[in-house]
Amino acid sequence: MAKITLSKLRHSYYPNPTGPEDYALKMIDLDWLDGGAYALLGPSGCGKSTLLNIISGLLVPSEGRILFDDRDVTELAPTERNIAQVFQFPVIYDTMTVRDNLAFPLRNRGVDEDRVKRRVAEIAEMLEVTDILDRKASALTPDNKQKVSMGRGLVRDDVNVVMFDEPLTVIDPHLKWKLRSKLKELHQRVRATMIYVTHDQTEALTFADQVVVMQDGEIVQIGTPVELFERPAHTFVGHFIGSPGMNILPCDVRNGGALFHGQHVTLEGAIQPGEGTRTEIGVRPEFVSLGTTGIEATVRKVADVGRHIVVETLVGDTRVAAIIKDRPPEVGATVHLDFQPQRTRLYRDGWLATSLAEAVQ
């Protein structure tokens, strides 16, 4: 096990990248602490799989270094790095039994048979596959196949990191939840560093202690699930996490205050000075309430999603969503929107530009 450091990492799939748009990974500086449960969250094509393949050694980065406990492994092959990876589609060796599948990484490394037996039994017990150990792997259901491929990663007790590349994609929804909690439990038992790549926020937020959000080859925010929800550092995090995501409302800044459709909006704190032309207000639907005073809006759509009601309104031509508990207004009705000041922030060119302080008028 080890601390993993990514230092000034850049990667391009082109041999001679010319501009930043040629880079799949723009500039990554990141430490993964030993024993942590991390999620790498981002939309498809944001570079998260590239980053994962660089850590596992399947790709060599164009620039920068990867350190495992201060040992430079940038040029090392996957086998020499002692890592494990679980892929999107379960990778199992069809012709082998479950037992042989689990033993495969150990046997390849010449571990003696007694130890192999013991480790396989332990892992099988953890994954609850003991009763199917002698079955042929090709005959398993997808969730059991995925368990076996996870098991192959966990069976070596000296792995530096176990990486999961969207491992629940092919699993039935009702089993996803089970496997997800199984993973969390496994992390608590084996205490290995785990990195979980996904574009599914629920998976990321339930699995990880720390979530790394990526967009366009860049890390936009690292934080606990609560931090990401409460105080997104970037509008992308705001609208990517949450259902529906954060309202991002174009606004004007005048005299240190924000104006949305000509109306003054109270923010969480003072606006930091900075360059940038595009300014937006960010407020989560959870913190927008319908009242008698506030910004006037027309109700466009009302959706009852069970636990709460999502009301979509229009202020001018800007959509603002609000989440309320009960008594939804009629479609077409005029309502007044009230933003909770402590939860209302200003973003400049996408990045958070207010400092958390006493609310100022």
């Binding site: 890592i83 494990a84 491929s149």
Partner: protein, 287 residues
């Protein structure tokens, strides 16, 4: 409860007619010949299973059958491993893929009799490029019209040249369908190249290889044109394979009864071996 409607069977009728006209009825005439003796003029005498007994006991048939199994066995032993090796060494992507594929497919596009004629001329000792080179430059005595061993080497080489591509293309199709994740997982699991072949590539190629072996078995077991043009079954009877012998009997000697009986036995062997092989190869999949 569902009502059972048998009317759908009528939809099978057109196929039944087609199969009847292109397979069942011609085959029935063969069955007809195989149990009777005829001297022409539509005069038939009942012969029962006599022809079958005669063929099954005849040394000539045994010899031809033995040569046939030797030929098919040898070409399978060469073409299947060779095809897999070539498929493994072909690039998986990039500029060379279409070039390799077209080059591989070329021999298969040449008609059988042309292949036979090509190899005949190619290996003739005095005028053929290869034959002349072997005999007059290297001084190796190589004459497929005189020497049974040379004749065998020539027909085997010709078949390998003509048909290994089929195995290559099928094996290649099997190989490229393996997702990259398998190779990556194997790397991470520390698997050797042999283990990658044994536990990933070979199992993934199993289905296409089954088809490849089946096709090559049937084709080579029924092979006629190429060896007929190349050696005509000679020297002597040394390359007289089953179908060449069959044609000699039916058209050369006009022994229609024994030839019909032999055809049916021949067909039964081809069918039986194919069925046995396919069943053995796919029985694991059903579990």
């Amino acid at each position: 409860m569902k009502t059972v409607n048998q009317k759908a069977w009528f939809l099978v009728l057109p196929v039944l007619f087609l199969v009847a006209f292109n397979a069942l009825i011609p085959m029935m005439t063969v069955v007809n010949y195989s149990v009777q003796e005829t001297f022409g003029d539509n005069l038939f005498f009942w012969e029962g299973l006599g022809w079958f007994e005669q063929i099954l006991r005849s040394d000539r048939f045994h010899a031809a059958l033995g040569r046939q199994f030797l030929f098919t066995g040898l070409i399978l032993l060469i073409e299947v491993p060779l095809g897999v090796i070539i498929a493994l060494s072909m690039p998986r992507s990039g500029f060379w893929v279409p070039i390799c594929l077209v080059l591989m497919a070329l021999p298969m596009l040449i008609p059988w009799n042309v292949v036979g004629a090509m190899w005949n001329i190619f290996t003739l000792p005095d005028i053929g490029l290869l034959g002349y080179f072997l005999n007059h430059t290297l001084g190796i005595n190589y004459d497929m019209t005189q020497d049974p061993l040379a004749a065998w080497i020539t027909i085997i080489t010709m078949d390998v040249w003509h048909w290994t591509s089929l195995v290559v293309l099928l094996a290649y199709a099997g190989l490229v369908s393996i997702p990259d994740a398998y190779y990556q997982a194997a790397k991470i699991d520390g698997a050797s190249n042999w283990a990658v072949f044994r536990f990933i590539q070979l199992p993934k190629m199993k289905n296409v290889l089954t088809i490849a072996i089946l096709l090559r078995f049937m084709d080579s077991f029924n092979i006629y044109t190429e060896p007929f043009v190349l050696t005509g079954g000679g020297p002597g009877n040394s390359t007289t394979l089953l179908s060449i012998d069959l044609v000699k009997m039916a058209l050369g000697q006009f022994d229609l009864g024994p030839a019909a009986a032999m055809s049916l036995i021949y067909f039964a062997i081809t069918l039986g071996v194919s069925w046995l092989f396919y069943t053995l190869m796919t029985k694991d999949d059903q579990k």
